[in-house]
Amino acid sequence: MPSDQTSDQIGDGPNHILEFPGGYTRSVGPVIGRFLSELRDGNLKGVRTKAGRVLFPPVEYDPDTGDDVTGEFVDVGPVGTVTSWSWVPHPRKTHPLDRPFAWALIRPDGADTAMLHALDMGVFEPGAQPPRQLKSGMRVRPRWRAERVGGVGDIECFQPEVTMINAPGRLEYRLRGGRALDRFLEGVEQGRILGHRCDVCGQVIVPMKGLCPKDGVPTTEEVELPDTGTVTTFAVNNLPDPRAPEVPFVSAYILLDGAGLTMLSLVAGIPADQVRMGMRVRAAWRPREEWTRSMANIRWFEPTGEPDVPFDEIKDYL
């Protein structure tokens, strides 16, 4: 019967709901019933066809011939291979996981067909891109629910096989930077980049060390440098780093304008494969209210868009 709950008021929420209170009762028959009973026990069973194929999840008839399947139920899995997948960046409320996840067709070892289920790839922010590890051919296993009722949801979802472990490594220190570095960081805390000029060679050393590494003499003359410079050389890094915006990221030697030594920093704001030797860059500072006594005040360097510096002008700083 059409519901009489329909009203003419159209607000934000639904004004008509179709629901079977308590759910719809369905008989499952001997084939699906056996599968679901085994599932409740934590077993994955396929059914053999007369032609010898193993259908998983089991159905009553061979889809190729229409013949009844045999009564032979065989163990499959629990490891399976992903044969296709889709990635849900924004799960619906009807979806089994409330964080980004994959749908996957999974063919357990020993089966000739695949089952659809959710595949949990870990913790992701809403809208996340598909993770690189997610691909057809990957090996996955079921994550069983502790309380099982005899439904396809007795498998909470599948999850990737263990291919790596994470070994924690942590040591604790109380470091002092030394006077020269202290003074340098004092500058950085105020958004200034300070260096020392060497009395002997005249080059500006930044960050200053209180001595000239070239001449081996103490330095004291403070010089403030601009936050612009030139990339002399760089590396593309493919291992994640908490300081970097994404992988791959670029770490580069940057020759600040007026400096005689390069300093190491991240370069961002440009695809990694477009970074060049001689590229002009400027420091990207964090918002002033976040400044501390740390080089982290400079997130990274970004391209200024100025023309590249010719190689000859940086070749002595490599």
Binding site: P63, W85, V88, L116
Partner: protein
Amino acid sequence: MRPVAVVAFTQTRHVGEDAGLSETELLAPLVTEIKQRTGITRFGFTCSGSNDYLAGAPFSFVSALDAVGAWPPISESHVEMDAAWALYEAWVKLQHGGIDTALVYGFGKTSQGDYPEIVTQGLDPYYLAPLGVDQVSLAALQARAYLDHTGTDETRFREIAARARSSGRGNPSALHLDAPDEKAGYEVAPLRPHDVAPVTDGAAVIVLAAGDRARELAERPAWITGIDHRSEPHQPGFRDLASSPSARLAAERAGGTDGVEIAELHTQFSHEELILRDALGLGDGVAVNPSGGPLSANPVMATGLIRIGEAAARIAGGTAGRVLAHAASGPCLQQNLVCVMSGEQSDG
């Protein structure tokens, strides 16, 4: 075979949001128009296609009969499918003889609910529906299978969507959608919003007639030279999703696709065009979905019927001699109908 042709076709100016018209109100002006155009007030048979879950009310299709006028009682049937299958039933009925005309219609409003989740309710209740898997997620599995199998680049999807939307802007009945946003994120990877047919409300009506009656009713009837539909297993994991053997077989059974100039395909997702082109053997010379196709307007349950109507209109208008229309049903192109039409009546 008794020669049967499409002799009249009309559709609503489809809309992308609820314009306040009921399903019956969408349909009634079309039925009135087609009665006037054909001069027929009583059809030998009436068959419709719709989905009660769209309105969330059982037997909601019955009220649409008010638009037809069912008294004194008419010979009538309904399929809970796209109306392309209602047309198939009407074609079979005409083959039986005893009648010369049939009215076929379909209608759907996806603005009232969440269509991808409504589709979930139509899935196998043991293995698929309990997972809550929706239509777009399933389609994306097929898109991924196609990409993996063929090495095709996702940008091909956007090209298809761009062409469909561009064609749709030239079709007064379609939604007029902007070119795809090149920066669009994923809806369900690898599909982006423009790869998914839009929410649409609309309806369509076709009149079939047999033999001489068809010649009386239309200057250039679109003769159905072959029509067939085939299905694959429902479980997506039992199928090779990168291809469509059922579409291939339906096309063979419909007499093949040689000489087809235009194809209207029921592609609710961009990648389906690539899979169907392969399955149907449509070369680059075949124009696919010159109407804009479902990616430009998707009044579900009428969308497949509209493919037949749009293709037939090319014959009626004299711009094509042989055309193909395709309709699909079920998850991941599970079931496919192929209807080949010609300006020349075949011997059958």
